[in-house]
Amino acid sequence: MNEFLSFAIGGLPFACSYALVAVGIVLTFRATGVFNFGFGAMAYGAGVTYVELCSHGVPSWLSLLIVTVVLAPVFGALLDWGLFRRIRTADLTSKVVTSLGLMVFLPSMVQIVIGSTTVYSAPAPFLSTYFTTLFGISISGPVIATLVTTIVVLMVMTLGLRSRRVGLTLRASVQSPRLVELHGVDSGKVLRNAWMVSSSLAALAGCLYAPQFATQNPSAYNVLLTGAVAAAALGAISSFTLAVAGGVLLGVLQGVIPGYLSPNSVWYGALVPSIPFFMLLIMLLTHRGFRSLDRSKDPMSVVEPPTAPPGLARRSEILGFSGRIVNWLAVVGLVIVAIIFVPEVWVGTLTIAASMAIIFLSVTLLTGLAGQLSLAQMVFAGMGAYGTARLSTHHHWSLGMSLIAGTMIASLGGLVASLPALRLRGLPLALLTLCFALLADNLIFPATFVGSGSSSIGVRRPDIFGVDFSGPFSRNYLVMVVAFLAMTTFGVRLLIHGTTGRMLTAAHSSEIAAASSGVPMRRTITIIFMLSAAVAGLGGGLYAIALGSLSTPDFNSALGPVLLVVVITMGAASVRGALIAGVAFVALPQALALAPSRFGGGGQSSAITIVVLSVGAFTYAQHPEGIVTFIQGRLKVAGLRVRNLRGDSR
């Protein structure tokens, strides 16, 4: 028993952090309707700030107070004022996209602000050197301090939320900020307070979490987010009590299970990190509360209508027929010139950019066309990549056959992912795909029959009809990838403008109306998931061949949200958006790395690229068409004005 308790106590700091962030997630979701994927990033920012303050000689308890009582509430108020107040009547998808933008944007922004140096850990805020023994079990001071702080904070919150004035108002605000105003409540103040309190909770969790690690890394805080999401899922993101219970349960399980497993066993490396994902998966598939999460409609939407869903954001063609022909000829010409004249050092970059553009096209299909939010597109790409690599290198299949098989494996992954999508939409589906991505990260890709554990797998280049595709700077291979990209683009355009595209657009307006008009909803969604996964798998296979070797971080689950946010920024509803996103995502860091440091060059190029390419998520509610279509529209309006002016002067 003592052994069990000592293991459980070891998990308590994690349990407290999970519980705090879970309560923050439930609070913001219930008060504002925003499921904040950015809480992990906010906790990371708070943790890093806490560590930085401590490293500059500020006492740890004072650093904690500064971060949680001063900086975090101000940041929460700024988030409300600058971002979330503007989308308070938007649909759930727009809110999810905005919070995903925060999840991607914040860690990169923190890295730019603090510089690229590694941030080491700091002491615990209280009792860092204290030790005591209770019933024969030794307990450290930081564990006691963490537990007491969490209990006090959660008790204060519970008392506040049980009151009719605060609790009822919060629950009413989420359904309709307008209607709550008609009940005499300042809804703006309610939303601002909710953001301030939840930011403080995330900051407290970050400060208590930071001393658990030797160095501060955003990925550790993504694990915190996933644990908290799993904890919040226990009560379908609506019960504070169940969220706390879930957090404690997860933390204790993560302390106890490794205690009884050998560190060398397969289960230790695979099962323990996957506990939150399994818990989340089970809740998403079994809890009925998730199915009705997006069904609460604002009765006052007539006064301030919500924005159109992404599928409806597709506009009529801005260019006429001749304009489109000229446009595409110009693109083809530019690609040919680029292939022939680009310096050798950029050939590899362009090859990878073209493969990434294919992966981005899979987001266009699933999110732009079908309106489904998937955070697992990088996993499908990984399936294609590992399938191609395994079959060609270990089983000596021809590279063409390996690529086809890899694409089919990814497509089967899409089929598996589409099964829950038949019942879930919007936020629950996004959570499920995140779960799928994290499970792939922990269980599928590190498995020896898929990847090679921690080592990398070599991937050979093709040799077709005597044409040499080998070498990292092969122009022949660049031509081959561009040809695949052209074919995929053509296929995706056919889908968008064909019957499937019309059926999916109809389903966007109203699934019930579409089904009653004869649209086979289940079949259409399954097909689009499989096609999207196949496109991602093809892109992944070509990407793997371009890289020459594969290792687990190449298809990290953390890239899934980045992929989605970058495509949405550029425009998820058009193939142009995906093509430009692919090129920008790969070429911009390379270009920035070559630039002088005062123009963003040097070590921060990747972080700057992500910051630049993720800002569109924050304007998604107002401009779901993305930057590319938005600029095209503005250019056309400017052109028409010039034409009118000329006409007037004549």
Binding site: R164, R165, L168, A172, E181
Partner: protein
């Protein structure tokens, strides 16, 4: 004393002007109906008075507050209650929670008394106070909304089409509750599409046509005005 005053009002949604040069006033304790066809601007008048739709030009005051500069929640605190078209209830809250939300600033004992009072007005639903509002029928939801508004003791009650889509029996139930509100001395502004329905409830009727005032007078003559007018020029939606 005027509790509602509208002077040369222009208001609308973006480029669309729903109200044009509208002027009228309502005295304390008066019951007034605003009648008009679809798109006439009836609901917009209610939304303007509660600050939900901004004013393009002109002026509107409610209980002495200029609605151009007073936020909605402040107008409600002054004594205005606007029951919007449709339901006006939080479907994710129970019946008693919806009533308590209106009276949340009162002490606990008084708040409970108000809930009991509302349950008495509703009558048939008194044993279902913990039922979520979404599980009630449309007529029941409107009864709960109006009774919760009455127990909040408003000075001005703005009801936007409270009987739309209801059966004749349910309509009579809603009107009975509105009569109780009148007996409490509440100033009632009722938005309706049919002039014949409001005769027994409102002494005065304002008829709107395409955002403009077409008639302002006793309710018993309003029905004749509407019938004559619509025979000559059938209403069209804007």
């Amino acid at each position: 004393m005027n509790v509602v005053s509208v002077v040369n009002l222009f208001a609308g949604y973006g480029p669309y002007q729903a109200l044009m040069d509208l002027s009228f006033s309502i005295e304390e304790g008066e019951s007034v109906a605003i009648v008009g066809s679809n798109g006439a601007g009836k609901s917009t008048v209610a939304r303007v008075l509660s600050g939900l739709v901004p004013i393009s030009s002109g002026m509107a005051t409610v209980l002495g507050c200029d609605v151009r500069v007073t936020p909605t929640h402040e107008l409600v605190r002054k004594g205005l209650i606007h029951l919007p078209e449709g339901v006006g209830l939080f479907t994710n809250l129970s019946i008693s929670e919806n009533i308590e939300l209106r009276c949340r600033n009162l002490p606990r004992i008084e708040r409970r008394q108000r809930v009991e009072e509302a349950m008495e007005i509703i009558g048939s639903l008194s044993h279902r106070r913990t039922t979520l509002a979404r599980d009630l029928s449309g007529g029941q939801q409107r009864l709960v909304a109006i009774s919760s508004a009455i127990v909040a003791r408003p000075a001005v009650l703005l009801c936007d089409e409270p009987v739309i889509g209801l059966s004749p029996v349910a309509i009579e139930g809603v009107y009975e509750v509105l009569r109780q509100a009148q007996s409490h001395g509440v100033t009632l502004l009722l938005v309706e599409s049919r002039a014949d329905r409001v005769q027994g409830l409102c002494s005065r009727t304002i008829v709107l046509e395409r955002g403009q005032l077409a008639f302002d007078g006793p309710s018993n003559t309003a029905q004749g005005f509407v019938a004559n007018r619509w025979l000559k020029d059938p209403p069209r939606s804007n």
